[in-house]
Amino acid sequence: MSYLVKLEAFEGPLDLLLHLINRMEIDIYDIPMAELTRQYIDHIHTMQVLELNEMSEYLVMAATLLAIKSKMLLPVHEEEAPDTDEFVEDGPDPRDELVERLIEYRKYKEAAATLKEYGEERGKSFTRQPAEPSLTEGTAAALPEEGLNVHDMIAAFRKMMERKKLRAPLMTRVTRQEISIAETMEKLVGRLGGSGGRAVFSDLFETGERSELVVTFLSLLELMKQQRITVEQERNFDDLTVVLRKEVL
């Protein structure tokens, strides 16, 4: 479990590299590639649990590190006919591009931290919803002919949700409507029976409210435990199908 927690602390290969560079206390402009590559690869070895998709990004970076490391091991070619002056151009440092990327990424990572602080400070000030125009006489709500889009609508909805939080009863514990698991289990069995013994998992959640979601989910787990239902899935990430076991019908 511990490495899982560690994993979530990184936002990708660049983040991991910055972490290692920081920990190794090395100059980002003069990275000891062999050591960094070793530590990086060590680290991703403990990350085997990652989704393949995410893992591939770490692996591509590992390959890049190895490529840079090997380029640096190659002897520098003497330029032929160095007629200009005695200094031989070494060519670009193979690390340059990586360093650029790291610095670029670090810039935004730091900006993200600053923004977070701004957000926290802003979060200490509260405004209020605009006064309800319906409270004043004779002001019918009118929609402008143009200039509104779906996002305005969603923004309105979001504002309302904020306001709803505000209007929630004060100082009284909201008594959550208890939906019993036993009841829900029977309801689910009934529903499955009514639809030929099968139903798509996600269809079993009716309102999408969190309490309903949790209770339905618990009930399904309990039904599985009691072996009254089974769950099928054709392929990874397909919708689950919940199947009522024949003997229960």
């Binding site: 509260f126 405004t127 209020r128 919803q129 605009p130 006064a131 309800e132 125009p133 319906s134 409270l135 004043t136 004779g138 002001t139 019918a140 709500a141 009118a142 929609l143 402008p144 509104l148 889009n149 779906v150 996002h151 305005d152 609508m153 969603i154 923004a155 309105a156 909805f157 979001r158 504002k159 309302m160 949700m161 306001r163 709803k164 505000l166 209007r167 004060l170 100082m171 999408g208 969190r210 949790v214 618990l218 787990l221 435990k225």
Partner: protein, 199 residues
């Protein structure tokens, strides 16, 4: 009293945020963790300060709750704001109702009002008059309330090919929901494991 000023500031903040709902002296006292008398002194202090000509607000007490309201002498300016058709404030109610109907259709007026927490008859009328919303049948059960749904004009107005094109609403809660579910799963698996081991 130094504390008196701090308390008055807190009370003004609270009244401001509470808006039309207002707050009782008891609620204010709980929220500020101060005694009732101090709260009442703070209310009087705010009211007094509001009397200055440079202020636009006043404290009103209605049915035992205190709230901030605009001064009557500024009614003209306020009316201009509320009547101004380009003002966002005017469209807010209609947009809210429209969003609810769009995502939850078919839905009754009462259900819309439950979600919004305020009467919504007029916004619905406006939306119907505008052709953005239409009757979409009747609800089952007693009363057989009218169900509302969106129209093709709605899709056209918002440039949607179909209702499937509505952007997902859930987004905002996703992250918290995920976290909550994770917590829940952790405690659940523990319970489950314990139960399992008893067998």
């Amino acid at each position: 009293m130094e504390n008196g000023n701090l308390l008055a500031g807190q009370v003004e903040s609270l009244l401001f945020v509470a808006g039309d709902d207002g707050l009782t002296a008891k609620q204010l006292s709980e929220l500020t963790e101060s005694d009732r008398e101090a709260v009442e002194r703070a209310l009087a202090q705010i009211d007094e300060a509001c009397r200055l000509e440079g202020r636009g607000l006043r404290v009103v007490e209605l049915a035992g709750t205190f709230r901030l309201a605009t001064k009557p002498e500024h009614a003209d300016a306020v009316r201009r704001l509320l009547e101004n058709p380009t003002s966002q404030a005017l469209t807010q109610a209609s947009l809210e109702v429209l969003a609810i109907i769009a995502y939850r259709q078919p839905i009754t007026r009462v259900e819309v009002e439950e979600i919004r927490g305020v009467k919504s008859e007029r916004p619905i009328q406006t939306l119907v008059a505008r052709g953005l919303v239409k009757e979409a049948g009747r609800a089952q059960g007693t009363g057989r309330a009218i169900l509302y749904g969106t129209t093709d004009i709605f899709l056209d107005y918002f440039g949607l090919a179909s209702l499937d094109d509505l952007p997902p609403l859930a987004g905002r809660d996703d992250e918290a929901a995920d976290e909550e579910l994770d917590l829940f799963m952790t405690s659940f698996t523990e319970t489950f494991d314990e139960e399992g081991s008893e067998e």
